[in-house]
Structures are given as structure tokens and as C-alpha cells.
Amino acid sequence: MNVPPDLLYTEEHEWARVEGDRARVGITDHAQSELGDIVYVELPEVGARVAKGQAFGVVESVKSVSDLYAPVSGEVVAVNGALGEAPETVNRDPYGDGWMIEIRMTDPKETESLLRAPEYRRLVE
């Protein structure tokens, strides 16, 4: 199970890569492997507001639907539009090309309550 050490995690299996006041968000390798073939990702529009712990979109496999939860609060400043055409990217490269949204954080302190890599690893193993 790939759990990159430089990311932060939620208990709902999202990851966040924090740079300055920006957080890029996706789902973990564990999540994509549990879901199986991902067929559809529904994401908010740029400019939407998201709140920590609230659903911001959904990810679907052939026979399941899961909500995506925001790891931090803020404004969506970028959305990975390529997932519309190629949702399978999330399976192939969950931490890279399979990213989902980028949030400009309103409260960077929220990251403190996110899980570090070793904690997340313990959660899923």
C-alpha cells in the first residue's frame, strides 16, 4: 500500500498536499484499490466553497458510490478536468495525475488535525 510520507490524510481516505495556503486533494491508493475500477468522478466548480469534513463530490465505481470529503475548508481554485474524460487515472496514479481539487485554505490550522502518513498507514493496515 502506497502511503507517501509527505502528505496528510483523512480517516475517509482523502489525502492533502499542502503548499502555502493551498491544499491539493485526492483519494488514497487504499481507497482506489477498495473501490475498484473508477468510472466517474463528480467534482465542484472552481470558485465553490468547501468545508472541512463536508462532502465536495462523489467517486463512482461500476457498483458503488462514495462521497468525497474535504480535508480542509476554503475555496476551490482548481479542478482536475482531465478526470471527466479519464476517471481511471485515479486508479493508475492516485497521488499524481489522479488529483481532484485544489483548495485555497481559509484556516491553515485545520491541517493540524489531519493524519500523518504513519497514522494513516496504521488505520488501513
Binding site: 475498484g36 475500477d37 473508477i38 468510472v39 466517474y40 463512482e60 465505481s61 461500476v62 479519464a86
Partner: protein
């Protein structure tokens, strides 16, 4: 799709792929000739002055009758059906469909009857509906019924809207509907569609409703509890009387999803169990054909205090001496309205009424006895190779789990299902109910022989052994079907839901 690349001669082989009807289309080819009409002198452009007519004809196939007959016959040959083999698809009651029902429903007096004929010219149809209602009320222990809903799910919607209307008539706006975690998907979907908030309660260790959790969930905001009994695990909830008492004490109504009624005909009635509203799936319990997914019918029966809320119209009988007449009653101010056009899937009602009249009281009870006998017998045979999550008597169906098999061999319920196809069986329902891991839900029905059940159990045994020896054989299954496993992910990612026309 266009048949290119197929070896010469392969187009006639039974059980091999059939290109789309569009592949048989050639410009100018004609099939049947419709009546020409008697007034060719009428100028259509004149008659439809100001109306935009099509300049481009719709892209329908241009074929001949022999081509059409051959195409659809060949398509049919790619299907598995009750008529071709054992179909133990749990929760769907895939029993034999008596052909007398087909014959009777085709009688011109039924099949060629327009719904707007005056009531005095539809007395046979109205009488049939009235008597079917009467029979369903007797079977369910209810006072009145509507035959309007087109399927189980629409029956549920009818029931939930009756629940709303009932509470509203008492000045209450209860918002919650409780369903067990073993519920069929239509139950929560329907409750939500009717505007309720859905609350799930867990099942207990015996597979029934967790009564403690239920009593905590029930409150003054609870509008109804939706149950099926026997439930989707095939288990009769022994606490049903207590559940009914708790539900009614909270001021809520108890709804019976009758998809599993094949287990209880003449044995126990939902009304006697304490239910207030019942839907039947005539295409299951009363053996009208499933038609690849319909048409069905989902009549809803209710206690007398809920009768004012039934959809319009209802059929009423008038007796003058020995003479009976039947009419529609449209004047029902508390009715929830109508759920569809006309009076229901009447052709399905004819078949169901024929089934009830063919069997009579004794026959219907025998249906349930044999359905339960077959299910228990097969359950014990299958339990040698699969886990029984709830080891107790089952009713008309049972659920086993392939969890142990998966742990031992890595093979999943899905693989077992696919391998069954190679053995010539339709697989059970898999991955439902959701509360059993690697679930396989088996419903043999009363119309199957002991030999069929024995053979099916032997096939499952052989598959379980194969799983240990050659698991890949299962993962690659099926190999003996017209197509092999299909790329469902690809289909969902980039949906192509039509053929190119022409």
C-alpha cells in the same frame, strides 16, 4: 456489431452473437405494409397547416419481415430464461409461468379492450378486477386494494404516499421512515421519493430486526416502518408481533413489502402479523412472466381505515337481487390521486387472477409449502460448501456466503456465479442483501424438481472444489456463454447507449 469479420456461415449458428438490426438495414428495404388509409385525397400539408414536418426521416432500420423475425429469434437464443433452465435468482421468484395465463390474457375481450369504453361495456374487465382485489385482500388479510401500481416499486410509492396522506389527515407531518439494513434498494429509494427521511436500523444476530435499536429509532416523527417478512435473508422475523406493537405505539404505520410472499400463502397473513399496508409483486408470487424486466404489477392492499387514501379510481360492486354490476368510483376526496394512466397493467392482472383461480386455496398453500421445502432442502445441501450466516429454518429462499471460500481460495461470490453459467445455471442473486459479505441469495421456487436441486447442489460443490484446485478457472468464467465477462467499467466511463443509425 456489423457482423464484419465473422467467419462465413457463422451467422446462422445457434447461440453465437447476432449483429444489430441496423446491420440488416438496406435503403429501400420494406417490412410489413400498414393499412394505407381510406382518404388518400386529403393533403397532409394542408391538414397540418403551419406544423413543422420532418425533413429527415427517423433513423429506423429498413428491413423485411423475414429479417426481423430471424433477428429477434436469434436474439432470444442468446438469453437464459425460466423456460430454458433453473433460475434461482433470490428475491425474484423465478417460477414457472403457466401458459394458460398467456392464452387467457390474449383473448380479444381483454387484449383488444380500450380503457375508455363505457363501464357497461367493460363489465367483464371490472368484475375480474373486483374479484382479484377480493382475493388479494383475503390472501393478505386486508380490507381494500388498488390494482393500479405497475410494479413492486410503484406499489411501495403508493403505500408511502398513503402513509403521508394518513398522517396529514390527522394533522401530523411525520418525516421519518425506518427500513432495516437488509432492505431491498427500492424501499429506501421509495421512502425518499415520497419525501421522507430514511433511517436504517440494524439486524440482530438471528437476522431479524434488532428490536432494541428499533424501539430507540421509533418516535413521534416516525411515519412508517417498511419490512418484508420473510425478509431478504429468507428468514421469518419471529418478533413481528412485538415489532408491530412498538410501531403502532409510536403512532407509525407498518408497511409490508410483499416481494417475498411466496413463502406465506395461506400460512400466515400480513394483516394478522400486524401490517397496515401490503404490496404484492404479481410477477413474482402470482407467476406472471417477468418479460426480461417487466411488465409486472404491484397491487397495494390496506386496512379499512386507509382505504379512503387509495388511488382513484377504485372498483365498486353493486348488487340488485342476484344481479351484480361493477363500476369505477372516482369520487374519493382523500385519495392520493393516480400513479399512472388508466387502471393498472390489466393484462398482468388477468394472468394473476387466472393463476389464483387455477390453484385455489389449497394450491396456493401448497405453493408456499413446496417453496419452503425446496429452499430448506437446497440450503442444507449447499451448506456443505458455503457458509450459513444464519443457521436456522429458512422460508422460500436462503442466503449463503462465499466468505470462507474467498478466504481459503481467493475466489469470490461473483466468480462462483460466473462459473455457474458454464454449468448451465442462472446464478443466484449475489452481493445482496448488503449485510452479508459475499452473499449468494438462492430462491429455488416450488416448481423445481428434487433432481434439479440435487444437480444444482452438485454443480456448486464441483465449483467449490475447483476453486481450491484451479481458482483461475473460476476467475475466467464463463467461457461457454455467447460472450465472456464484459467490460462494465469501460461501458460506464464512456457510455455508448445507442447504435449508429444507418
Amino acid at each position: 456489431m456489423n457482423g464484419e469479420g465473422q467467419a462465413p456461415g457463422a451467422v446462422g449458428l445457434v447461440g453465437l452473437a447476432e449483429p444489430s438490426i441496423y446491420a440488416r438495414s438496406r435503403p429501400g428495404r420494406r417490412g410489413v405494409r400498414p393499412p394505407a388509409g381510406f382518404a388518400p385525397e386529403v393533403d397532409v400539408a394542408d391538414a397540418l397547416l403551419g406544423v413543422r414536418l420532418r425533413e429527415v426521416p427517423p433513423g429506423l432500420p429498413e428491413t423485411s419481415e423475414p429479417e426481423v423475425v430471424r433477428h429477434f429469434t436469434r436474439l432470444s437464443q442468446l438469453n437464459y430464461a425460466v423456460d430454458t433452465g433453473f433460475y434461482p435468482l433470490g428475491s425474484c421468484t423465478m417460477k414457472h409461468n403457466p401458459r394458460i395465463g398467456e392464452e387467457l390474457a390474449q383473448l380479444a375481450g381483454f387484449a383488444r379492450l380500450h380503457p375508455a369504453v363505457p363501464e357497461e361495456a367493460a363489465q367483464g374487465a371490472l368484475e375480474l378486477m373486483w374479484r382479484l382485489e377480493e382475493a388479494l385482500c383475503e390472501i393478505s388479510g386486508m380490507a381494500r386494494a388498488t390494482l393500479q401500481p405497475a410494479a413492486g416499486a410503484q406499489g411501495e410509492l403508493c403505500g408511502m404516499l398513503i402513509v403521508r396522506a394518513y398522517h396529514a389527515s390527522r394533522g401530523e407531518g411525520r418525516r421519518k421512515v425506518i427500513v432495516p439494513d437488509s432492505a431491498h434498494g427500492t424501499n429506501p429509494a421509495t421512502a425518499a421519493m415520497a419525501g421522507f427521511e430514511v433511517v436504517e436500523v440494524p439486524s440482530d444476530a438471528r437476522g431479524g430486526v434488532d428490536v432494541g435499536a428499533l424501539s430507540r429509532a421509533l418516535d413521534g416523527d416516525t411515519a412508517a416502518l417498511m419490512l418484508t417478512n420473510p425478509n431478504t435473508l429468507g428468514l421469518f422475523d419471529e418478533n413481528i408481533a412485538e415489532i408491530a406493537r412498538l410501531t403502532h405505539e409510536a403512532g407509525a404505520l407498518l408497511y409490508y413489502d410483499g416481494a417475498n410472499a411466496n413463502a406465506i400463502l395461506g400460512v400466515s397473513r400480513p394483516g394478522d402479523m400486524g401490517f397496515d399496508i401490503v404490496h404484492f409483486n404479481l410477477h413474482k408470487t402470482f407467476s406472471t412472466p417477468h418479460g426480461m424486466g417487466g411488465p409486472g404489477a404491484g397491487p397495494v392492499a390496506v386496512r379499512d381505515f386507509l382505504a379512503p387514501f387509495l388511488p382513484v379510481p377504485v372498483v365498486e360492486r353493486r348488487r340488485e337481487g342476484s344481479r351484480e354490476t361493477f363500476r369505477f368510483d372516482w369520487d374519493r376526496p382523500q385519495s392520493i390521486g393516480r400513479l399512472r394512466s388508466h387502471y393498472g397493467n390489466f393484462g398482468v392482472l388477468v394472468r394473476a387472477y387466472a393463476y389464483i383461480r387455477a390453484l385455489g386455496a389449497e394450491g396456493l398453500r401448497r405453493v408456499s409449502e413446496d417453496a419452503v421445502l425446496n429452499a430448506n432442502y437446497l440450503m442444507r445441501l449447499v451448506a456443505r460448501d458455503f457458509d450459513l450466516p444464519y443457521d436456522r429454518l429458512c422460508k422460500h429462499e436462503f442466503v449463503v456466503s462465499a466468505k470462507g471460500l474467498r478466504e481459503r481460495t481467493g475466489v469470490r461470490a461473483l466468480d462462483v456465479a460466473k462459473r455457474l453459467l458454464d454449468f448451465g445455471y442462472h446464478p443466484p442473486t449475489v452481493y445482496f442483501p448488503l449485510i452479508v459479505e459475499e452473499a449468494m441469495m438462492v430462491e429455488p421456487t416450488e416448481t423445481e424438481t428434487k433432481e434439479t436441486l440435487d444437480d444444482f447442489a452438485r454443480a456448486l460443490h464441483a465449483i467449490a472444489e475447483e476453486a481450491a484446485r484451479e481458482p483461475d478457472r473460476l476467475r475466467e468464467a464463463p467461457t461457454r456463454t455467447p460472450v465472456r465477462r464484459l467490460d462494465e467499467a469501460g461501458a460506464a466511463r464512456r457510455p455508448v447507449v445507442r447504435y449508429p443509425a444507418g
